[in-house]
Symmetry: C2
Subunit: 279 residues, 2 copies
């Protein structure tokens, strides 16, 4: 693992690191904020998964998570959204597929299966790497994310109920298997047999019996992707049927950008901290 | 004036606006955050001047000023750092001169005098424009900035003691007329007669009798520009000689980036608010 950069911030350290990934079969970069408390012992770990077109850097620049994470004593881990590199198959003119659009799944179809294994990367390889290299209490992990990363956070948590103490999302894609911007990607990554897609769709995972103790979601009412891409009412229906307590905050006038995310970042950090620091 | 974008943020509005500037003889873009209180009446205005290579956008993305500005009820105005456009003279490979490096002065030398009139833009044209278009209490203005923008904030405040209620800076260039990264720019913008440079140099303006009621500066000790470019001890000497109360906070381990600025943003916002809201 190579240190790309570190800088002091709010008494802690914002780092960027690069490593050769076996899951993704390429070099991967991630951002990790360690709060001041990490100088004295292990700290809980909150994962943040980013949305379409993002790298590790967007939330690092615009998420405004460090002030409160430093106060609360939580590490924030921000992975990239897809494999990277010249030999990674891509559609450069399509922002909804390929690089920047890994959808946190393990592709099974050629040529994508060679690199697009973000589920395995996030759930197996990266946890092991950060546990070995940083003072993190891996018994205390939570996860959240934005848009495609909200989809990633919820689906990964549904499939690993013992791993994450809490999960939340900003404007998550509720049903990617039917949404216009993700359906073509699912077909290319996973093939045309839609039964294989169910493992990567929040509403279908819930329908298939996967559970969460509770879920927090914030969604802007002025989000231009609300009606076609995100559709929080599908999440509401699925959670209601499965008796999963969902707190869905519809935020009047907010859009899909980091100006929305940063506004409600503190609420989500406090919500996760309450659950991460419970005995 | 044209609205480039607006988005809800922390209950207020982060806007970006473009207008034809007569001072700079080109189109200029600026960012303005209006806190929620601006819906009910005029709010105080805090100017933020950015550093070399920046546009209006860097601090908008990475400065983390909106949460507390919304709470305190202050508008934050972030201008660009130079004139822009294809017909603006520039040295594209030189990040210390030309576009992104206006040094908040009015150039007198050809070909730069045609567009590089940032002092006039910031002190005359932009205040009039925003006063006409937004609910701002122009009797309550303060100013701060970073690096070249710290230089800009302090020099402009020294020359307009009645206009700004308070001035502060992150890692300001204390003596640009002798610093390696600004001396060549001063010569090109202002000519070889160094007496003309004194009006744009904090330490020399103070030596020439210009006053401030007080000054707040934060400076990282791990800032790579500390010894050659910034030299806060020159500011300390000048303020001591002139009996200007200077609070200089040397911040252990912090660099020159927005990871430093955002860490101490709240301190500066509170400091200005105390002075802006005084009767």
């Amino acid at each position: 693992m190579e240190t790309v950069s570190t800088a002091r911030s709010f008494g802690g350290t914002q780092g960027v690191y690069r490593h050769a990934s076996t899951a993704c079969n390429c070099e991967m970069t991630f951002a990790l904020f360690l709060p001041p408390q990490a100088e004295k012992g292990k700290v809980p770990l909150l994962w943040y998964l980013s949305g379409l077109t993002c790298t590790h850097q967007n939330v690092m620049d615009k998420g405004e998570y460090r002030r409160l994470a430093a106060e609360l004593g939580m590490a924030i881990l921000c992975p990239d959204t897809s494999p990277r590199g010249d030999d990674v198959s891509d559609e450069p003119d399509n922002w909804q597929f390929g690089k920047g659009a890994g959808f946190y799944l393990d592709a099974t179809q050629a040529p994508y299966a060679t690199h697009y294994r973000m589920a395995r990367y996030i759930t197996e390889e990266l946890p092991q790497l950060v546990a070995e290299n940083f003072p993190l209490d891996m018994t205390r992990q939570s996860i959240f994310g934005h848009s495609m990363g909200g989809h990633g956070a919820i689906t990964l948590a549904l499939k690993a109920p013992d791993r994450f103490r809490s999960v939340s999302a900003f404007a998550p894609i509720a049903q990617p298997s039917t949404a216009g911007w993700s359906r073509p990607a699912f077909e290319k990554y996973l093939g045309s047999d839609e039964t294989a897609w169910r493992a990567y769709d929040t509403t279908l995972l819930i329908a298939d019996g996967h559970k969460l103790p509770e879920l927090l979601v914030d969604q802007g009412t002025a989000d231009s992707f609300l009606d076609d891409g995100l559709r929080p009412w599908l999440l509401q229906e699925a959670c209601a049927k499965a008796d999963i307590p969902l707190t869905l905050n519809m935020r009047e006038g907010y859009d899909h950008s980091y100006l929305f995310i940063s506004t409600f970042m503190d609420d989500h950090l406090r919500w996760h901290a309450e659950r991460l620091f419970r005995a």
